[in-house]
Subunit: 677 residues, 2 copies
């Protein structure tokens, strides 16, 4: 049943009251699920212009939000809404209590109240932030019905579970042009994320214009950097969408690109060059020279003036200390200052830098490693190594945010991110007061293996599942519901300009040249990139490697393979309907026969030739799956040697080929295993 | 065989020399076909950065062109090309003779010479215009091969057949935002169009900021207009792409929106309101009052200063004269001045306005109607009524451009536009000197039935066929070749940001809500919008009508239906291969069975419910087609009454349903007719 229909049915069942989020989840096909929703009767039709009345406090940002809201509604429905209202019996009231802070703050009230009835919409909020969120909720509620577009009557009271809900984008490794950043902010607004963490410097590139130290961008960026005006534009764009912008300048490691223009900052001899490889590298700032802090003082002064947010991220991860170990002067300094190891030296450095940040009136954020015995309590820890380090920070009185579990560059399924909870694991055992130190989380889009072209398809739609984890009540955990709604929001995101599905198609077309891509798409629909950090061991990459292969074009998660696995499990459990049997068989036949159509195309292009064995394996896997289906359906036993042979083949087919995983294999294994008498 | 392969084969057949365009057409899968091409051996690989050397004259526009060229090449290949050259044994030389005119002129030299060899590309041109064209040619020549991306060796000498190759966009009826305009200019550059004719005022909207007469945009545009800064930005953007921008301010008719703010300009009493309907309306400027010319003098002064092009379009079409007839003062003026009818009054008006344009140093362009017995010889006539009026103008010594035959709003097939030739028909009988008065042509995108959303899918890819007609040698007329290359350029245009195929999919998704769109897409792939002006009689429309139905989402021309018609003709002629029989049968089965899957979805949405009979008819048509195929294949005669019954059904199925044509019908008619013993 389509979810629109489900919704319609639920709504026509007359009044139905709940304040339990699980029921809101069933009620509303939106993401993130609101905290509290009560269905009404009837619906608010969207068939032409209607007056939008601004009550209470207003400001230009709200006027712009209204304009954008109407444009989004037009984009969603195709109905021109810029003309004078035609439907005056309808009203859309926006009632705002007071201004939000001049610079958006952590823990500002983001709540809103949305009442939709057949003739009136009332959206009220204590301040503009809630209004921005409520408008997004309304837009997601728009549905096509036999009578036209409308929003079913409902009353929603909503507010976030966590105040820090972020997306980090790494503009350092692969530069991300402004339109990519703006598009990401557009998507963040849709799913109510409120922190854009901008990773702006890396070994592979320094991405911000510094007027005080222009060699940073001139020598460290290959010309790919943001001017200060552009940064200000992005900050304004983000503020319009209720999003804070937190810059990160990673130090003392991950900083090779700084040293190209300013080698004296480094601990080694130089000369330094922009790093072209991926990994952890030796160059590190020299924590023992006062000139380093003098430089950083002025630099931090310039950047804290540019970025108005109260928080300032100084990185601090993955410094291997090798340049320190190799430098006698630094070794001597460590002895003289009783710094017993590299960790101690880094802690000293972090402490000094943190003072420079504090001096500018800002709060320091750093990765796990910055948490040391004497780390000041106002430093915020971003946990990438696991939930335990986050809990440890919280226990010690430092606030923290979770990123472990939200590494969207690792190509894990949305379900895996969805179950990662900032307050699970060790954090569940904290006192309520300690738990309050855990501010939320951030999805992290590291960019070794994404380009401006395909980054959207890595961020979306999975980040919507993370956004729901961070916004919705703790009890919203139904994975099937999440996937059902993820498909809907993925389609909705296209209206907001996230064209990742089209881009994937286009990348496949590029691979195939002028050949018909139908069979290539069939293959693409059931393969996935390798998970976690295994990609680098399967082929060789650097920052100049084109990311134009199948692994770059496909979604991190195959919807088709997930659907097929579900069918396989039902079949294995003897619970599949005849429709499900039929569907499974149809897909297996499609995959079996696809190879014959695809092979002639693959040889024609350097970008596809490596797929020859992948396509063959898919076909062979499907043959095995079909024979197992036959055996199950006819109740004719499969001999043990044959089954073992099949399983051995499938085992070998689990291994990546052409840097791709064949996601049909696990499902066929389930079916073959079920043939055991 | 894929064209990439074909190209590769032709090229590996060693050296092969030709200066006949028909052979260039076979040789190169690009559009428009160049005037002259000679194949070489080997190819220039594109695998990493290579130095681009600028020789001779240079200017900032050429530097920007180089940057855009590299970005396009990256977009096409996915290879990062912004870093320092890695392949120094390769060279790409751009050699420019001299500057082009400060303001791009008609009849400037647009020729270029492009030599591609395995280690060197030489692109030379007398001025930057040729360089811009040559870069586009090179980009289209990039192909994926088993060895990677490359351009096969070739020597091209190219120049256009006509100097005026335009696209008109009507921003008056539906306002087109700047990004739509810029995207259109991007596409124009790809196919070497060089005139953007911007229709800026209409009954439904006045779209330019006037500082002298601000009520024009303030009262005449619903807030949807271009500021002068934005206009200047577009002119610069166009100039960077070798494109002139010619504004059109339509007068004395098509001008209701002017009168909302300035009713004294009109011939009636007023008050006037922005027109919401489509059609020809009565309001017209008053040609009898000096105040009208005083206004227009200042206005034309302002606009000719804003638009630097030497040509200035004053419209002049479709003035019905009713306001003149109804105004006694105007009637008296006509008698006093011996103006015997409305045509004479309009000719008087045109003459006066033309003087105002001349006074500003510009040349007047107008639609057919401005050509009157005493029209000055320097007025350029844009022919919309037919090729005869163009020939007539040329005979009389006026220069002219053809738009009749290039009305892309009429949803005709590319083949129909392709055969329209500015020098065919009456023009073929002109003397060579008279023929030189025919400057070229313009595709016209009138916007009654397009929005910013779907306009791209109306302009492209068909306008590429028109662009080829205007650029390529006269002998390039092979329609099969055109369609083969049109498919390739359509795919190429996606790399330049023309996402019309994705947008079409998205519009179908909007129609279907959250339902699966597979079966809706199957229906969409074989229907077309009604042709010419028939749409308005099939449903009622005004400027507020959402354009969100199937007719708005589908391509004006169904590729699938065209392919099927080809198969049907082969089958009817007894010339189809077994593969072709099989394909025809598969499609018919798909269409027959589609209805069962689609009907339950159609009822759920107000945007699709009208498609129920369309889907049913397609299914019934396919059933007839299959039975006719069976009869032909088994050589079993169909009884005359049955065949007549089938043909009667098909005849009725030719009629539009839900404002759509079922394009499978003509092909099935061909098959059924073939069953006649």
């Amino acid at each position: 049943m389509s979810s629109a229909r489900l919704l319609a049915i639920v709504f026509t069942c007359a009044l139905f009251v709940t304040n339990v989020s699980m029921q809101a989840e069933t009620l509303l096909s939106i993401m993130p699920v609101p905290a509290h929703a009560v269905a009404g009767t009837g619906s608010f039709p969207i068939s032409g212009s209607f007056p939008i009345v601004m009550e209470g406090y207003t400001e230009p940002r709200l006027e712009r939000a209204k304009t954008r809201f109407l444009a989004s509604l037009t984009s969603r429905t195709g109905i021109p809404l810029w003309q004078a209202p035609t439907a005056t019996q309808q009203q859309f009231i926006i009632r705002t209590g007071r201004p939000s802070k001049e610079v958006q703050q952590l823990e500002e009230d983001e709540s809103y109240h949305l009442e939709v009835s057949p003739t009136r919409v009332l959206l009220s909020a204590p301040n503009p932030l809630g209004i921005l969120h409520g408008l997004q909720t309304f837009l997601q509620l728009v549905n096509i019905t036999p009578q036209g577009f409308s929003v079913a009557s409902v009353t929603i009271d909503d507010s976030p579970r966590f105040p820090w809900r972020g997306l980090m984008i790494d503009s350092g490794r692969h530069f991300m042009p402004l339109d990519v950043i703006r598009q990401s902010l557009d998507g963040m607004e849709v799913v109510k994320l409120n922190v854009f963490h901008w990773h702006l410097s890396e070994n592979q590139g320094f991405r911000v214009e510094s007027k005080l130290y222009p060699l940073l961008q001139q020598k460290g960026s290959d010309g790919n950097f943001y001017t200060q005006d552009q940064i200000r534009g992005i900050i304004e764009y983000a503020r319009d969408r209720g999003i804070r912008v937190i810059p990160e300048f990673d130090m003392p490691g991950h900083a090779t690109s700084w040293f190209v223009g300013y080698p004296d900052l480094a601990s080694g001899k130089g000369p330094y060059f922009i790093e072209r490889n991926w990994g952890i590298f030796d160059p590190a700032m020299d924590p023992t020279r006062e000139s380093t802090y003098k430089f950083l003082d002025r630099f931090i002064g310039e950047m804290t003036a540019l970025f108005p947010d109260a928080y300032f991220h100084i990185g601090g991860d993955e410094c291997n200390g090798k340049e320190w170990d190799a430098n006698p002067r630094i070794q001597q300094y460590m002895r003289e200052h009783n710094l017993k190891d590299d960790a101690a030296l880094q802690a000293y450095f972090t402490g000094r830098v943190q003072q420079l940040v504090t001096k500018r009136g800002k709060i320091t954020v750093g990765w796990d490693e910055v948490l040391q015995p004497d780390t000041p309590k106002d430093v915020v820890i971003q946990s990438w190594r696991g939930p335990d380090s986050l809990a440890e920070a919280a226990r010690r009185g430092n606030r923290g945010i979770l990123s472990a579990g939200y590494y969207i560059d690792l190509n894990q399924p949305a379900s895996q991110h969805y179950v990662a909870d900032p307050l699970a694991g060790a954090a569940a055992k904290l006192t309520p007061e300690q738990q309050r130190n855990i501010l939320g989380g951030e999805a992290t889009m590291w960019s070794e293996f994404v380009t401006p072209e395909n980054v959207g398809g890595r961020i979306w739609p999975r980040t919507a599942a993370i956004a729901e984890r961070l916004w919705s009540p703790k009890g919203v955990t139904d994975i099937d519901s999440m996937y059902r709604r993820l498909a809907i929001i993925s389609s909705y995101l296209a209206y907001t300009g996230q064209m990742y599905n089209s881009i994937s198609d286009q990348m496949l077309q590029r691979m195939a040249g002028n050949a018909d891509v139908t069979s290539l798409k069939t293959l693409a629909s059931v393969v996935e990139p390798p998970k976690e950090y295994s990609r680098e061991s399967l082929a060789s990459y650097n920052s100049l490697t084109p990311l134009t292969k199948m692994v770059d074009a496909v979604s991190p998660e195959s919807d088709r393979a997930r659907d097929f696995l579900r069918l396989a499990k039902l079949i294995a459990a003897g619970q599949a309907t005849s429709e499900e049997w039929k569907q499974a068989r149809e897909w297996l036949i499609l995959w079996r026969d696809n190879d014959a159509a695809l092979q002639p195309i693959l040889a024609q292009s350097a970008l596809t030739v490596e797929l020859e064995p992948v396509s063959r394996t898919l076909s062979q896997t499907a043959v095995i799956g079909l024979s197992a289906l036959d055996a199950l359906q006819s109740n004719s036993p499969v001999s043990e040697p044959v089954r073992q042979q099949q399983l051995a083949f499938l085992k070998s087919a689990e291994a990546p080929q052409a840097v791709l995983l064949d996601m049909v294999v696990p499902a066929v294994e389930v079916i073959v295993n079920a043939t055991k008498p």
